[in-house]
Amino acid sequence: MKILRNRLSSALLVLLGASFITFTLARVIPSDPALAYIGPKATAAEAAKLRITLGLDQPIPVQYFKYLIETFQGNWGYSLSTKQPILQEIADRLPATLELIFFAISFAVIFGVALGVYAAKYRGKFQDSLIRIFAIIGVSMPAFWLGLLLQMLFAGRLTWFPATGQFDIELKYDHPITRVTGFPLFDSIITGNYHATFNGLHHMILPALTLSAYSFGLLSRMARANLLEVLSQDYVKVARAYGLSERLIFFKLALRNALPPIVTVTGLSAAYLITGTFFVEQVYNWPGIGSFAVNSLLSIDYPAIMGITLVAAIGYLVTNFIVDLIQSKLDPRVWMK
């Protein structure tokens, strides 16, 4: 329990630091938020007035302190481009992104780990080399390019999958999704709107595959490497000396031992996916937080950028926390460290 409290307090500290870095970047760097707010055509007088209303004339630490308090109170400001509350914008878009990440990470874990294990089992053989080439291609592939290629091939040429969006546009009229949790695909399942579910899955495949390529490569490499590492340990030799079957040694012992690092890497790739969505959503016009982020970045919508950064940092922290939690269940030595 004490450890949990320590973890939480250190997480808060990290968030504080992260928000400070973003804030500093936004304020100290010579781009004028006021100008960004009212556009380049504004007069100097107008800009000065706005600076006062926005509190930009006050010293940076005071501004930061104010920002912190307001953020904590849930007042994350208004987007400069959409003029909507940031929190609202993020809440509206987050579910679509989380669904995308969920499918991507599932692809990556299932195929990555399975192929990594397979490669380890046949190390040095043809299968192993093939999987390793696949994996290294996965980690070398620019997501935005892969997205375009898949789009061109499977949506453009073969028309097997839709090119963009999370659902067909007509769906809104034919089979509207009743909002329950806000997660559209999930809501479609629990409300029994299977037409929408299938449509959503159909739309999901290309973006999720694109997004998962890097994590897939990472995971299969790590799974293979860790498994081989475990297989070279003394305790595996002992297990062999005591006549335990190779099957048991490989699938029950070694795989179980290799699991903790695999979980760590899964967490790490989930973190990669957070920024990965920026590019993939851009390519597939996915109505998620990633495309919102890119638009905000391009329009220097600084309240939105700060909000998104904070959410991403929280997401990263939560991922790490979950990883640690699983880790402590998997490896009895974790809490000792």
């Binding site: 970047l25 290294i136 620019p142 935005f144 061109m152 490497a225 970045l297 220097i300």
Partner: protein
Amino acid sequence: MKFLFKDKLTSMASTLLILFIFLAIFGPLVAPYPKEGRGKANVDNSFIGPGWKHLLGTDELGRDLLSRIIFGARPALLIALAVVGFAAVIGTLLGLIAGYRGGWIDSLIMRVSELFLSFPPLLLSLVAVTFLGPGLVNALIALIISWWPWYARLIRVEASIVKSKPYVEISAAMGVPDRVIILRHILRNVTTPLIVQIAADLGTVILAAGSLAFIGLGAQPPAADWGLMVAQGRNLIFDQWWISTFSGMAIFLAVLAFNILGDALRDHFDPRISRQ
């Protein structure tokens, strides 16, 4: 250097890398249309598909894509070297101090780098480059900002391992000054992991720089930048497919080559995690 050609895959990667370096240096001399490579528009020739005259086709402004890609090799390699170089220097310096000195300065340096590492990868660069203003140099700075902590962390761990080696303790006990110990004993013994990390990162930086350029925060037109070129062809992907496809291919192959060689380098220097 034999390990760079130890098997077919590695040899292919090495060859590819040599080709990229060659193009980065001599690109203007070998590009079929050097002027177009530099950015000169030739609107009459726009959107010609791949063929004998234009091996990889032409873009919206009628420029020869092959020449553009050849011209893109230099900025791609330069940004990779610059980012990794600066990040490694800053990170190594801080890591050495933290690892050797320990105590409060160690805690300070490590807490600060942890803060930078608390963002999902690339996010900090994206935010930084936004506020710095789009452009190649700013993208470079932004990437350095988010890259140095990795080196600080790596070198700190390595330095604290070397620090506890008997030869360092003996030197210190003999009265050798810290500065000399850091340079003579510690720095020299952290170079291997440093090189391995640099090799592994070069490809990743090219990928990251390409990503920044793709969403319009990196190099700006009319620069011949691979990421930018993919972005320019993005909306034409269904019809003028070659623009994005070939420019992206350049990024992919460069990253792939670096990654394969990074693996080879690591296997060579660090047989612990070698994979047969």
